[in-house]
């Protein structure tokens, strides 16, 4: 009985070693950076965490493929290092002694990547499945680019300012043109009233030479001759 158990155990371990070893067919390397992600709240990587990992991979396989027969025991882990990094492979229980093809595992993991990351409080960068490309989140784009909105606002302000200045400039110029015409009218009115009020008729003043004030005649010699 004991011999039989020993034989079975050794068969399992050799099978285990056959399927799961670095760079073996259909195996993937996983690398976790728990301290980088969580700092002081980092948890230690132990056997329970490994059990959770196996459970998540089995969950991913069940979600992806129609066959709901993947068990936790189908997921094999090996070569766990201090980094924390390890290799895993998924065996196919329906077909004996084979592993699930690479493409299927990759597709399954990609589909449920978010759930797997969240189970370990990590993200795509801190929980790396090497050789499984992650779908990067698309950038949040609004329907109208924000810069156009700001551009439109500034443009409207400046055009409004220009129009305001031009219009007020035209109005100012119109006022200036009106003013000389108005003052001309006022001057004419004044002339009419002055001639009447002063008593002196305009006609006497209408001399070409004008009036000479005798009081200043003596000063004529002061001016230098041209």
């Amino acid at each position: 009985m004991r011999g039989f158990l020993l034989l079975a155990f050794s068969l399992v371990t050799t099978a285990h070693a056959e399927f799961c070893s670095p760079d073996s067919q259909n195996a993937f390397k996983v690398r976790l950076s728990i301290k980088t992600a969580l700092g002081d709240n980092a948890y230690a990587w132990d056997a329970s965490e490994e059990y959770l990992f196996k459970a998540m991979v089995a969950f991913a396989m069940r979600r992806y493929s129609s066959q709901k027969t993947t068990q936790i025991s189908n997921v094999l882990l090996c070569n766990v290092t201090d980094r924390v990094s390890f290799w895993f492979v998924v065996t196919d229980s329906s077909k004996n002694a084979t592993t699930v093809p690479r493409g299927e595992v990759e597709a399954a993991i990609r589909m449920t990547r978010n759930r797997i990351n969240n189970a370990f409080l990590l993200n795509d960068k801190t929980m790396q499945f090497l050789k499984i490309s992650s779908t990067l989140p698309p950038p949040t784009e609004s329907s109208v680019p924000i810069w156009l909105v700001v551009f439109g606002v500034v443009l409207c302000l400046i055009v409004a300012g220009i129009l305001f200045l031009i219009v007020s400039g035209i109005q100012q110029r119109k006022k200036k043109n009106k003013e000389p015409a108005e003052t001309k009218n006022l001057e004419e009115k004044c002339e009419v009233t002055v001639t009447i009020e002063n008593g002196m008729p305009c006609d006497t003043l209408n001399l070409k030479t004008g009036q000479i004030n005798g009081g200043y005649e003596a000063d004529d010699e002061r001016f230098t001759p041209l």
């Binding site: 290092t81 201090d82 980094r83 779908t135 924000i146 500034v154 400046i158 220009i162 200045l165 400039g169």
Partner: protein
């Protein structure tokens, strides 16, 4: 009755206008570069000497000519001697070239400003490629900030021959920039006088905020120490002195006619001597202040990149050898590298090409100037700060204020002679003249928004103004000292400012400054001749960095045309007047 000349509301507006014009992008992106290249703190020595020998005297000269003649550059030089009308025309031509390409920088500042209202900043991360599995290749090879500048902003072509199409986003920003300039110059000094309060003071406010922030950044001290340790052996390098002289010269904006234009709107008895000293001192102080900010930011960026590099190397080794997380630290990295090389030689040798040697010195040594500094290095530093949107908005708003302030001076240099001319001012109101000038500049400026536009921008930036300005200012100073006569000018100034000129100004004007400009001129010409073919930096998208290429022949022809069209105005102007007088004399002699 003659329309009285518009005046500044008060002398403060005039000082602010000069400061706003002189303090421009050169203070922010050229002076720190020169400081770094030519001996750090030691560069201040040639800089200050050149300020005293060249900067202040030439600034005072231009301001006093403008204030005395009370006309723009063409009229002012015509009054000094009719044969010098070509000098005024040359100034206008150079200002025209400058305003054509300078406003494109404002367009870029608008573009970055509008894009700063997003979270995260668009240059913070590389965009994803088409099938969302990774980042775009060009962005990975270069960096996200370089990608945003070269691809998203400029959409630059691989060489100057491939023109490409006009980028509509850049064209829209350029039109907006010109509308902004038009708004500010629309009413002449009335509107300009109010705007310069903002454009002169707001940049200082932003610089102070940045100084406080930059000094608190991690690693800023590294940059400051690097900058201010004087490398006095650089003083023996003649290039340091030549660059100091060139920087003072172009930083003050001499020879464009803008200072003459601004001064012509002064009261006749304004003390422009005091203002010249104030403006030149403020300009130089701002340069030093801006370089303190820049070097703090450099230090922050270099430290950030250095630590990133170390982290990358540590991650690579940790993953390759499956070591425990946190086992490798910055301190034991070198020691552990040696250990790993000893224990696992084969794997280590495989990894060797991927592990870069990280050096803080190398990061600090990358000296950048010009648009590269303003739009790539600064935006890279900003994206790593907290609340990066706020700092981004502040920074690009400051660039915009500096740029618009300088544009006000440039357009004043073009518009003042035009509005002074009786022919144009009687037929067209000044709003229409300003509008036409802005419109023409905008249309020509659209060439700089094409895919190869940045290469043409570099041509204009390097060659449109340098030689021509030196010649213009040389002719100006010789004209004032020897043609008009230094004694006569001294008497005019005595009337204007109310006290006698000190011997310092007279010696500088008569001997020191002309000699300095002649030596600069000779140096530049010999430099052009010795370098032979002119080359430019082209962006290679496949490699993700700049490569050097030769200019094609038509680009060289454009360069020659740029330099010739402004310098030839001086002799042609003199010749034209000479012929006109000859014809008049002949006509008079035939008539009589």
């Amino acid at each position: 009755m003659e329309k009285s000349r518009p005046l500044w509301d008060n002398p403060l507006q005039f000082v602010f206008a000069c400061i706003s014009y002189a303090v421009g992008l050169g203070n922010v992106w050229r002076f720190p570069y020169l400081c770094q290249m030519y001996g750090g703190g030691g560069f201040l020595i040639p800089y200050l000497i050149m300020l005293i020998v060249e900067g202040m005297p030439l600034l005072f000269l231009e301001l006093s000519v403008g204030q005395h003649m009370r006309q723009g550059s063409i009229g002012a030089w015509k009054t000094i001697s009719p044969y010098l009308s070509g000098v005024g025309v040359a100034s206008v031509v150079v200002s025209f070239f400058l305003s054509m390409y300078y406003n494109v920088i404002n367009a870029w500042a608008f573009w970055y400003l509008f894009h700063s209202f997003q979270n995260p900043l668009p240059w913070a991360a590389c965009p994803l490629n088409s099938n969302h599995t990774g980042y775009i290749e060009e962005c990975e090879k270069a960096s996200s900030t370089q990608y945003f500048w070269y691809r998203k902003t400029l959409n630059i072509s691989p060489s100057i021959e491939e023109n490409g199409s006009i980028q509509w986003e850049q064209a829209m920003c350029l039109i907006l920039a010109w509308l902004t300039v038009y708004l500010c110059i629309l009413r002449g000094t009335e509107s300009t006088g109010k705007v310069v309060y903002l454009t002169a003071s707001l940049p200082y406010l932003v610089l102070i905020i940045y100084l406080i922030k930059a000094l608190t950044l991690h690693g800023a001290v590294n940059g400051l120490v690097y900058m201010f340790t004087p490398k006095l052996e650089q003083l023996a390098n003649p290039k340091a002195w030549i660059n100091a002289a060139t920087q003072i010269f172009f930083s003050l904006g001499l020879g464009f006619g803008s200072l003459i234009a601004f001064a012509s709107y002064n009261e006749p008895n304004n003390n422009c001597e005091k203002h010249a000293i104030i403006v030149s001192l403020i300009n130089s102080t701002t340069s030093v202040f801006a370089s303190i900010v820049t070097f703090s930011i450099y230090g922050f960026k270099a430290t950030f990149n250095y630590e990133n590099c170390l982290n990358k190397a540590m991650l690579l080794l940790t993953n390759a050898f499956d070591l425990e997380e946190g086992f490798l630290t910055a301190d034991n990295l070198n020691h552990m590298k040696e250990q790993l090389m000893a224990t696992h030689p084969n794997e280590y040798v495989e990894l060797l090409p991927q592990i870069k040697n990280c050096s803080l010195e190398a990061e600090l040594d990358t000296a950048v100037q010009g648009t590269g500094l303003a739009f790539i290095v600064y935006s890279e530093a900003i994206k790593n700060m907290e609340v990066s949107q706020l700092y981004s908005v502040l920074y690009f708003f400051m660039l915009l204020m500096l740029g618009i302030g300088s544009m006000l001076g440039n357009t004043a240099a073009i518009l003042t002679p035009l509005t002074d001319s009786k022919f144009l001012s009687t037929h067209l109101p000044k709003e229409v003249i300003s509008g036409i000038v802005c419109f023409i500049n905008c249309i020509v400026g659209l060439t700089f928004t094409m895919e190869a536009g940045n290469y043409w921008f570099d041509i204009f930036n390097d060659y449109a103004a340098t030689l021509s300005l030196l010649l213009i200012v040389l002719v100006e100073i010789i004209a004032v000292c020897y043609v008009y006569g230094l004694r006569r000018f001294e008497k005019d100034l005595h009337l204007m400012i109310g006290h006698k000129l000190s011997w310092y100004w007279k010696i500088m004007w008569a001997f020191a400054s002309p000699l300095l400009i002649i030596s600069l001129f000779i140096f530049y010409i010999t430099d052009y001749i010795l370098t032979g073919t002119l080359q430019y930096q082209a962006w290679d998208a496949t490699q993700g960095h700049l490569v050097t290429k030769d200019y094609p022949s038509y680009a060289l022809a454009v360069i020659g045309l740029l330099v010739a069209s402004s310098t030839m105005c001086i002799p042609l102007g003199a010749l034209a007047i000479f012929i006109k007088r000859r014809l008049k004399r002949e006509h008079r002699s035939t008539v009589a």
